[in-house]
C-alpha cells in the first residue's frame, strides 16, 4: 500500500531527485543538490552552536579565564572572509596545521610505518609453519610489500650500474599495484551493489509498499 506519511513522500521525492543525476544536469538534481548542502550546513550550525555553548560555559562563568585566548584565536579565523584583514586568520590556520600535523605524524610513525613493518616481519616467520596455502599467502604478502615499496623509490638507481635491475623491479612493482587495485575494485562492486539495494528497497518498500 502506498504510504500516507508526508515525510515518506518527501523522502521519496528526494530519492528520485538524487537519482536524476544519472540523467544529467536537470532541475530535480539541482533541488536535491541544494537541499543536501542546505540541510548539512544548517544542521551543522544547530549542533555547532550547542557544542560551542558547552565549550565556553566555563569561560563565561569565570572558571577558566585562559579559555578566552582560544576564543580570540577562534574568532580570528572569521577574518578570512574580510579581504583587507584576511591575514589575521593566518594564526588560527597555523595552529590547525601545526597541531593537526603533529597528531597525525605520530600516528603515521606508530601505525603506518612501524606497525606495518612489524606485521610484515612477524608474518614472514609464519611462511614455513602451518599449511602450504597459508604459507604461500604470507610469502606473497612479504614479497608484494617489498617490491611495491621499491616501486616508490624516486631518485635511487636512476642511472648507471644497477639501474636495469631497478627498472625491472619497478615494473614488477607497478603490476603488483595494478593487481591490488583491480582486486579491491572488484571486491568493492559487491559492496556498492548492496548500497544500491538499500536505497531502492527503501523507496519501493516504505513509499509504495512493494517488495
Amino acid at each position: 500500500m502506498i504510504s500516507t506519511d508526508p515525510f515518506i513522500w518527501i523522502s521519496a521525492f528526494f530519492t528520485i531527485c538524487s537519482f536524476t543525476l544519472l540523467y544529467g544536469d536537470n532541475p530535480l538534481f539541482r533541488i536535491g543538490e541544494y537541499t543536501f548542502a542546505g540541510t548539512v550546513v544548517a544542521h551543522g550550525f544547530v549542533t555547532g552552536i550547542q557544542t560551542l555553548y558547552g565549550n565556553y560555559i566555563p569561560l563565561f562563568q569565570g572558571q577558566d579565564p585562559m579559555a578566552a585566548i582560544s576564543l580570540i584565536l577562534a574568532v580570528m579565523s572569521l577574518f578570512i572572509v574580510w579581504k583587507k584583514y584576511a591575514w589575521i586568520a593566518s594564526f588560527p590556520i597555523a595552529v590547525m596545521i601545526g597541531v593537526g600535523t603533529g597528531v597525525s605524524v605520530r600516528a603515521l610513525v606508530s601505525t603506518d610505518i612501524i606497525g606495518n613493518i612489524t606485521a610484515t616481519i612477524s608474518e614472514a616467520g609464519l611462511i614455513l609453519v602451518g599449511n602450504p596455502a597459508d604459507g604461500l599467502g604470507y610469502a606473497v604478502r612479504v614479497i608484494f610489500t617489498i617490491v611495491c615499496t621499491s616501486y616508490l623509490l624516486f631518485t635511487v638507481l636512476h642511472r648507471g650500474p644497477g639501474s636495469r635491475t631497478m627498472s625491472y623491479l619497478r615494473t614488477i612493482g607497478k603490476y603488483f599495484f595494478l593487481v591490488y587495485l583491480g582486486l579491491s575494485v572488484g571486491n568493492g562492486v559487491m559492496q556498492l551493489s548492496g548500497l544500491a539495494t538499500s536505497a531502492i528497497n527503501r523507496l519501493l518498500v516504505s513509499w509504495l509498499g512493494l517488495g
Binding site: 515525510f7 531527485c17 577562534a74 593566518s90 595552529v95 590547525m96 605524524v105 606473497v140 583491480g182 538499500s198
Partner: protein
Amino acid sequence: MKMSSTITYVRNYLARFLLIVGLLAALASWYFVSPQVDAVANTMNLWNMNIYNFTLFVGLITIVIRYSDGIRKRVKNWPYMAYGLVLIVGWIIMGEYLGLYSDFYQSAYLSTKITLHIAILGQLVFFLVSASYRVVRIRTLRTAVFGLSMMAMVVLNAPWLLGVFPAADKISYWLLNNPSMAGGRALLLTGGIGGVILGIRLLLGLERGALKSTER
C-alpha cells in the same frame, strides 16, 4: 614601507612559531613523560578544536556570500541558490525553535539529508558499472592485469559461482588477504614516510603551497 614590511615579517614568524609549537608539542607529549609538555599539548589541542568549531561559521559566511552574490548577479542556477538560502535560514530557525531531538526535526532530517545520503550511495554502483564498460578493456598488459584482477574478484564473489563452486569463497578470501592486503600495506608504509617528510618540510618552511595559508 619599511615599517609595514617589518610588521609582515613579524606576523609571518609569529604564525610560523605557532605552527612549530603546535607540531612539536603534539609530538613531544606522545613520546615523553612530562606533565608540562602534556599541558602545552592539551592547551593547543583545545585551541585547535575551538578554531575548528568556528571555521564552521567561516563556511556559513562563504556560502551566504556566494549564494547572495549569485542571486544578485543572476548567475546560472541562481533560483536554486535562493532556495538554498531560504532553506538554510528556515532550517536554523526550526532547529533553534524546536530543538535537535524534537520528532519533527528528526523526521525532517531523516527525509532530507539522510535520504539524499542513502540515495547517492545507491548510485555509486551505477557509476562504477558504466566506468567498467569504458575502462576494463584489454588494450595493453597494464589494463589487462587490472581488468582481469577486477573481474576475477567480481566473479569469485558471485552467488551463481558459489552455488556450483563453493571453494570460490576461499579463493577470493585468499586474494583479498594476501596480494591485495600487501599492496595496501605498501601504500600505507610509504605514504606514512611521505607524510612524515611533509611534516618536516613544514618545520623547515619548505611546503610552500600549504604554508602560503599562514602568510600574508
